[in-house]
């Protein structure tokens, strides 16, 4: 057992840290989930790409550094520690790309991955529908065979940053006769194609982070089918665990939030407004972030030893999403009467980031598969309990 990084990895950390120090905007960018902020975030993504840091763990031919999982974790730690902008390319990089690496043709990989990493093309997910959320396989949007491709019709919803992205990826029903999980196919759709209508939806936190996407006879060429026709459920699920597990929310993100919480505590204590309850909550949040980090170090060791890490990632997702909520609750408790001040209030502490962050944290137990679904997955696939009725 050795819980220290090798000198080479620490040298990589130093390089990343120096680059971030020199390049992260000193004033935080406006939220990437607004039209203005999105454009600025895309500019930032391009600089990150040019420096080689957009997708450190990808092979070099697609714009990555071919870095190990350890270095990916180090990069993430440094990225969030530096307070760098949120990744508006995240859904493409963390959700679509792993599926492309596993099921994509060489042509698809060559055409899509580099452009995704450089933010030339930005991606939104098309999973949920008005009547298919947790029961995703109940989706009704359909695709019909036409010459040279497919025509897609239906309605998708809760598409993160869908109002600003260029393209989307998701499941559509290609065989209406087949049983629920069969007869689905994984498509990639151009939002600029005729027949696509995108309606922005304002989120709880006030940003236009969601969109509804209406599709009416939208042509998608065969080249944009990912994996085999009618095999979409398997294709989508093969990498779904990576979303919940390691990649979507690396420990560095929460460790950085915990460090900022500690800093807030120190400032509030200096003002004489931090009591023993707040002090305890701060330490607990930090400890949980540490526990998640240690659990991740263990998981990565297992992965490098060739073990398959599948359904256990659901357990991670429950843990980090609930930890994020309690961490922000601790911050609001510390802020006391100032907690309600939002980003536009002049007197808001830290630019109102804590209330904003709290609201975003509340989405965690809902997105990427609700925590109820994740608990079902752990019960059935990790513990071997019988499926519900």
């Amino acid at each position: 057992m050795d819980l220290t990084y090798e000198p080479g990895d620490e040298a990589f950390r130093a390089e990343v840290r120096a680059w971030l120090q020199a390049n992260v905007p000193t004033e935080p960018l406006p939220s990437g989930d607004t039209a203005e902020g999105f454009a600025l975030h895309v500019e930032w993504e391009r600089r990150l790409f040019e420096a080689g840091y957009a997708v450190v763990s990808w092979p070099r031919e697609y714009g990555g550094l071919g870095a190990s999982l350890w270095r990916w974790l180090i990069f993430e730690e440094e990225y969030y520690r530096a307070g760098a902008p949120n990744r508006v390319t995240q859904n493409g990089i963390f959700l679509l790309a792993p599926t492309l690496f596993e099921y994509g043709t060489d042509e698809q990989k060559a055409r899509i991955l580099r452009a995704m990493a450089s933010a030339e093309v930005t991606w939104a997910q098309l999973w949920s529908e008005p009547n298919a959320g947790s029961d995703l396989a109940g989706l009704r949007s359909r695709a019909e065979r036409v010459d040279g491709g497919w025509k897609l019709t239906g309605q998708k919803t809760w598409c993160t940053r869908g109002a600003f992205c260029d393209r989307g990826f998701g499941l559509f029903r290609t065989d209406p006769e087949a049983t629920k999980h069969r007869g689905l196919t994984y498509f990639m759709v151009d939002f600029h194609a005729p027949g696509v209508t995108v309606r922005p939806v304002e989120r709880l936190d006030g940003d236009v982070g969601f969109a509804e996407v209406f599709l009416e006879d939208v042509f998608v060429p065969d080249a944009d089918v990912l994996g085999a026709v009618n095999d979409g459920w398997k294709v989508a699920m093969a990498t779904a665990s990576s979303e919940r597990g390691l990649t979507l929310r690396s420990p560095g993100r929460f460790q950085a939030s915990a460090a900022r919480l500690i800093d807030l505590y120190r400032r509030q204590r200096a003002e004489g407004v931090a009591d023993a309850t707040a002090r305890r909550a701060v330490a607990r949040a930090w400890m949980d972030a540490e526990a998640y980090n240690l659990h991740t170090l263990r998981t990565v060791t297992r992965m490098l030893d060739g073990e398959h890490v599948g359904a256990e990632s659901s357990l991670n997702k429950v843990f980090w999403s609930e930890l994020d909520v309690t961490l922000h609750e601790a911050a609001l408790a510390l802020l006391g009467p100032l907690a309600e001040l939002d980003e536009q209030a002049a007197a808001a502490v830290d630019g109102g980031a804590w209330m904003k962050g709290f609201q975003f944290a509340l989405a965690g137990p809902i997105y990427a598969g609700t925590n109820e679904i994740q608990r079902n997955v752990v019960a059935q696939r990790v513990l071997g309990l019988p499926r519900g009725a």
């Binding site: 050795d2 990895d9 526990a291 240690l294 659990h295 429950v318 608990r375 019988p386 519900g388």
Partner: protein, 353 residues
């Protein structure tokens, strides 16, 4: 970076697991409840065959000279079967403390006769022939005090560490919610003959021993939590109501999963404390407190959730669950409360209040 045990370490764990599975069943533990010593006849001897009593003892005392990483694995196995033997007190705390105190006394060129007694006590303890009890916080009950051949005790007045023979101890035995535990309130007179180590050196070694106790109890509690979660899973698969296994109901599943998550997140925290102690990390104390908090809470959570999903059968002494719950509660009150360890973490992280 590598967060895994070596093949050799896993072999030690495997040997323990196999032996304990056969010789420390729920029936054995249940029988220990009403036995004179609260222990399983012959089990200490079997642990001795595996070298467990002297796991942390140096080679000169014919110990295995292994470290906290191996200890973490062995204690988790002991916890999994609720071993009612002094594996935390004697194996994880007293033996390494005595060895370190002897080394420190040798460096300070202490009195030869007292040291010779201490060396003999360590050899006997490492060989599993003599039992060491340990009481580092004056006034708190000392487990196994009534059975111990020697007790390592801290003098309240001076903070010095003494090695006190049984004959010099008065033990007022108490009963614990876990009847295999025999905590005793001890009274004794410190004198020159029992003095092992005084001054700052004693304080430092005792602090490290308390850290080891916090970590070791956490490792044991992780094993207990694992046992309770498994018991809950097995029960929920076979117990039927409304015509189906109760384990198919979401309300039941989610309770078990909550216990499972607390357990899975606690285990790496405990292992990190093991690594920290074994490799002498400067933050080892902090890591032990974190291990203790997560370990206690994982086991308490498991006790609570798994009792609930069992319903009334879990609330009897005819079924095994109570054995693991009661050990959980008793170990939650030893080696520092969760709140006390939280405060240690708070001081390390946030400075003085």
């Amino acid at each position: 970076m590598r967060f895994a045990f070596s093949e050799e370490q896993l072999a030690v764990q495997q040997a323990c697991r196999q032996m304990l599975r056969a010789h420390c069943t729920a029936d054995h533990v249940h029988a220990a409840w009403t036995s004179q010593a609260g222990r399983v006849p012959g089990l200490w001897g079997r642990l001795t065959e595996l070298g467990v009593p002297g796991l942390m003892a140096p080679e000169w005392a014919e110990g295995l000279a292994l470290g906290e990483e191996e200890l973490a694995l062995v204690l988790e196995e002991c916890g999994r079967v609720g071993t009612p033997e002094p594996v935390i007190e004697h194996v994880a705390v007293a033996v390494p403390l005595l060895a370190e105190a002897i080394a420190a006394a040798e460096r300070a060129q202490a009195d030869g006769a007292a040291l010779e007694t201490a060396r003999a006590a360590l050899r006997a303890a490492a060989a599993g022939e003599a039992l060491l009890a340990v009481g580092l916080r004056p006034g708190e009950p000392v487990s196994y005090a009534g059975q111990a051949d020697h007790a390592l005790l801290v003098d309240r007045a001076t903070g010095a560490l003494h090695l006190v023979p049984r004959a010099a101890l008065t033990v007022e035995e108490q009963t614990s919610v876990d009847r295999t535990r025999r905590p005793g309130l001890v009274t004794w007179q410190p004198d020159a003959a029992t003095l092992l180590l005084a001054g700052e050196a004693a304080g430092e070694l005792c602090a490290r021993a308390l850290d080891r106790g916090a970590f070791a109890s956490a490792a044991f509690l992780v094993g207990l939590a694992d046992r309770m979660v498994q018991l809950g899973v097995e029960y929920a698969k076979v117990r039927e109501q409304f015509g189906k296994a109760i384990g198919s109901f979401q309300a039941v599943q989610h309770r078990i999963v909550n216990a499972c998550i607390a357990l899975e997140m606690a285990r790496p925290v405990v292992w990190r404390a093991a690594w920290s102690l074994a490799s002498g990390q400067p933050e080892a104390s902090l890591h032990c407190s974190m291990a203790r908090i997560h370990g206690v809470e994982a086991a308490e959570r498991a006790a609570r959730e798994i009792l609930q999903i069992h319903g009334a059968i879990g609330y009897t002494t005819e079924y095994e669950l109570h054995l693991w719950m009661k050990r959980t509660w008793s170990l939650a009150s030893a080696w520092g409360t969760v709140r006390e360890h939280e405060q240690r973490v708070e001081r390390a992280l946030l400075g003085a209040e």
